[in-house]
Assembly symmetry: C2
Homo-oligomer: 355 residues x 2
Amino acid sequence: MTPGPTEIPEQIREAMARPIANPDVDPAFVDTYRSLTADLASVYETAKDVVVLGGEGVLGLEAAVASVIEPGDRVLCVANGLYGEYFAEFVELHGGEPITCSFPWDEPIDPDAVSEAIDEAKQEGEDVAAATFVHCETPTGTMNDLDEALEHCREAGVLTIVDAVSSLGGAPVPVGEIDLCIGASQKCFSAPPGLTTVAVSDAAWERITGTDTRGFYTDLGLWRDVGETGEFPYTHLASNCYGLAEAVSIVLDEGLENGFSRHEAAAGQCRDLGTEIGLASYPAEARSAPTVTAFEVEEATVVQERLHQEHDILVGTGLADLEDDLIRIGHMGYNADTERVETTMDALESVLDDR
Amino acid sequence: MTPGPTEIPEQIREAMARPIANPDVDPAFVDTYRSLTADLASVYETAKDVVVLGGEGVLGLEAAVASVIEPGDRVLCVANGLYGEYFAEFVELHGGEPITCSFPWDEPIDPDAVSEAIDEAKQEGEDVAAATFVHCETPTGTMNDLDEALEHCREAGVLTIVDAVSSLGGAPVPVGEIDLCIGASQKCFSAPPGLTTVAVSDAAWERITGTDTRGFYTDLGLWRDVGETGEFPYTHLASNCYGLAEAVSIVLDEGLENGFSRHEAAAGQCRDLGTEIGLASYPAEARSAPTVTAFEVEEATVVQERLHQEHDILVGTGLADLEDDLIRIGHMGYNADTERVETTMDALESVLDDR
């Protein structure tokens, strides 16, 4: 019950064990990839291209940044959490200049501040190449409402990059306003870690094509035509693609809206049971994510270990400065289940009562 | 029977299907990683550190280059094939200046030329930061004898990077003289593609630690202490690690020398049967790899497709300019089997006879 990787259903694990078609030579693998990306576009609810890269979600985040900026480019990094802050590091690593627009971790993103930061940069004669956002800040269980800020970016002609790793498939993502929207296999899809997905707008492709990328593995441009040519930049992760394809088909079979409701129900159950045992949610309830709940718990790392040892249930703690202050219950994908949440919260209650 | 990915034995596929321990939180995964890297060190026959990154083999190649060079650094790229040439592209992408030391694809690497290239650069006052080599050039089925060239590099104090992706585990690799030696899961290990392995010398770690790397996913430095801390730079590819661990244990259970002999037997069988049906090996026989055999065959792509359609056997063709001129039979890992080679060559004979 960690906020990803989740428990993996048997059907997906079995897909991981299938004999593989050679991704470099066998047309059967190209069919798998095409159908996987088409199904993913349905999950993204977009007509944009979707590409699937062979690596963990952070590869998608870095590749999005690396593929659209050149040395000296200014990138607005909007952050109210750890992953928002990581984006600024990726910008620096790839030679860009991050303009940070930061908020406390327990406060929402102010769209007016985003707008002002863009205006300010432009008044100083600095073009803003892109803006980065995090939809769901997994480390604090916070879901950010990005609609207004994304609209400001569009109006200002600023390309938008959004980390939707821990929301995609479990909650509606405003993909229509996003130029590069990143997901990963091990969160709401409940497949094993190893693949990252990126929905790419035409404007983003145009920028990517015109940008000299300083890397190969992080170059999204190499993926633009793979669906058509059937030629991948490297041997694709065939088993992982089978697993993710199975996972995406489960999501689509359930129906996106049904899945979103299931996540809301599990999250609501988790918050209610937390309230009952006197736990405070770290983000304000209205911003608490449908995929992960963060409760304020003292000595969280001890509680985590006792839950694991005594109840065989693994949950997350906080990260960075909050490591020992938060317990995070993941209810995403396969684990977005009120019964599983109840079992987890019962166990948490018993550990907290006994200390 | 392509030169990787190979057919994957059931035992390894089943390991891919195991429920996973959370790589970010569960100490059980750290144990898996430690035991995997220790077993890999046995395959590398080295006491050096081995790290396993979450991506295809090319990630290991790029990461090795990216992690040891800084903008302007000169790197000697020794090439008698496609992968040797790719190294020069990685050097350029990461801001280095490749000094190419190229040989025709059907000729060996001349160690004296390597030595002279280093001397020449040094006489011009240019330090050579590293030299890159390819042990087995999969695209031409050529095994390079690197011993003497590596020795020259050591004497000149030049760090060595070697692509052993398609030889490691199937043939002896001169790891003792190599600072960064790269392998991958889908070649002689017969696991699915998705992991790359790097054996790193102390001198290489020292360089890596002192180098500003312009990327995150390609930064080997982030992996130096993961075995001790149990904290990975990103959520590791747990299922793939289980698959590779199973694969490596199969290699060690057989015994390295027994495995090498099996590869030699399969390769010898392949060359002999090729000679019988009048096929010429592309590299001179003494340089033909024990893991892949390249035969000169006209209209190779048609032959490849007929073998697939009519006999359900998939082999490789040449790459780049040689695409339509070579048929490549992979006999690596699970497929290094004289019976499988015989079946393949019988099918090839029947296709060639019938045209």
